[in-house]
């Protein structure tokens, strides 16, 4: 729970990492890539307020204690969702695997959710692994990287036939949330890995699953929005949007949020801090206090407004619905329960 000006907010942080990126975990011969990768992430931290920057040494290898303090204590995060990133070509034990995340999950099973992964090109073996992971981590979601290389294949599309058995397996295992990375990707070199058009067909064909597009397709927000506006089960994951723009580029941030509110809507936007890139506290605090810098200016005047109820949805209540997280009555939108009762009475 996050408290601001006496108001209490239920927070679900839908994009967290617990990585290990220090020199002890660099693959021999690939040190420059491992180092470059984490330095690149560290540069993104520079887009947040100066007082929240960490030295690179801490950034490479932050601890469980750092996580608990930054996310739960200072950030007031009620439930956090881990997204896994493997990168085994560069990091000996993986960069941020489900197993690494699970070590914290075991300590805080009520406050953390671990998402798994699948890759349709792994076929039967992949299906079996998914089944095992689902049992081990009580999976409700997965994170997919469509641009990842696998055995000579340079990526796949979510609407490829080979994905079908995996969607069916998800249904069977009760995995409802498909997070898709559509954003900065290293390989393949020659393809536009941001292109979210494959989500369109997959979301139509699998109307009972939710597709959460991480980083809203940044830097191709327009392609994401044109697609998301037509699909009721496509959601916007705001990691990097808040962390990367709210402080560093407030006018662009206001326009991006205005566009997302217009095309996608406040019921389908999910907060994610992308911790350890950025601490959640300044993002939550800033977002709760946020408004258009100059609401009557022609740049912003016809964007939808965002009120306290909308912020509650984005910061926690939307994700709570997707993941079946129970929200205490006093942290719901004030007056919402009364209104629903009234509607029921009217409908009855």
């Amino acid at each position: 729970m996050y408290e601001r000006n006496g108001e209490k907010y239920f927070i679900v942080d839908s994009h967290l990492h617990m990585w290990s990126a220090g020199p002890d975990n660099w693959v021999k011969g690939a040190e420059q890539y491992a180092k470059g990768w984490i330095e690149c992430f560290h540069a993104y931290m520079g887009l947040g307020p100066a007082e929240t920057h960490w030295p690179i040494e801490k950034f490479m290898s932050y601890t469980h204690e750092d996580f608990v303090k930054d996310v739960f204590e200072d950030g007031g995060v009620d439930v956090g969702i881990f997204q896994s990133t493997y990168l085994r070509e560069w990091y000996t034990n993986g960069f941020n695997t489900a197993a690494q995340n699970a070590a914290l999950f075991e300590k805080y099973p009520d406050k953390l959710i671990v998402n798994g992964r699948w890759d349709p090109r792994d076929g039967e073996k992949g299906l079996k692994e998914l089944e095992e992971d689902a049992k081990k981590y009580k999976l409700q979601g997965v994170k997919l990287y469509t641009a990842e290389w696998n055995n000579g294949s340079r990526g796949y599309r979510l609407d490829d036939d080979i994905c079908k058995p995996f969607y069916d397996k998800c249904r069977e295992l009760g995995i409802k949330n498909i997070h898709v990375h559509k954003g900065p990707t290293i390989w393949p070199l020659d393809k536009d890995a941001f292109d979210p058009r494959d989500v369109d067909q997959a979301a139509t064909d699998n109307g009972d699953l939710n597709f959460i597009i991480e980083h809203v397709g940044l830097p191709r927000i327009e392609d994401f929005c044109f697609m998301a506006t037509q699909e009721p089960n496509v959601y916007a994951g705001l990691s990097v949007v808040i962390g990367g723009l709210m402080h560093a580029r407030p006018r662009f941030f206001a326009k991006v949020i205005g566009e997302l509110l217009f095309w996608v809507g406040e019921d389908k936007m999910l907060f994610g801090s992308d911790y350890g890139i950025w601490e959640p506290k300044w993002q939550i605090e800033g977002f709760l206090g946020w408004d258009y810098p100059d609401a009557d200016h022609e740049e912003f005047s016809d964007y939808p407004r965002l009120n306290d109820a909308g912020k509650r949805k984005i910061l926690g209540l939307n994700a709570a619905k997707l993941y079946g997280i129970e929200v205490p009555a006093e942290l719901q939108i004030p007056g919402a329960a009364d209104r629903e009762d009234a509607q029921l009475v009217e409908a009855g």
Binding site: E222, G244, R249, E298
Partner: protein, 250 residues
Amino acid sequence: MTPTASHQGGPDLAGQAVETVREQVLAALDGVIDPELDEPITKLRFVSSVDVTPAGDVEVNLRLPTPQCAPNFAFLMAADARTAVRRLPQVRTVKVHLEDHYTGPEINSAIADGKGFMGAFPGETDDDDLAALRELFQRKALIARQARICQSLMGAGLDADDVVALHVRELPDGPETVRCLQLRGELGIGCAPDGPAFVLPNGEPLVADQLQRWLRMARLVATSLEANGGICRSLLQFRHDLATDPEERE
């Protein structure tokens, strides 16, 4: 940039001339556009140094916001920079060097040998000139720039019918219009003075009842490009400890 010893057979430029060539090189680089952001690489501060020798040998160093910026766009910028500088009559040789990038060595050696994207990454791509990628972003750039012009005209009191009735010759003077027409030319969309001022991404003229929808979509494309450019600028600034650029829009 201290001029170094003259090479044999070169034009042997005097100190003043070296400086002039250096200015010409920078002006040529002003014409090299980041295809993803649609802004000159000079304005984005991606050119970290330009060296010119009295013999007319030029070395251009490029730096990008992160070591992992997309290799396809990085390649296009480096290749375009070489092409632009090579055209200058007083330049004898050009070396373009992409600094601190994870595919820098591959890109640098392919550019030096005048090879395409396949030459840089044999076996990893079958797209040598990245033409489709370039064209996709040229269309996005055109849409975004038209949106900004259109918005400012409507802010000044024009309505939908006025806007769709405008001709190329009636577009306001300024860099947005110049770049719009340049993009139309590159995309093979006509830009005769009596042609339509605003076009759909496929080159067809706009009609009044589509305007609101077109503008809504075009504004989103513009926002996406601007936000992306903003992140790139901030990352570069942080990475190289640069002062804030006073000319930035935000």
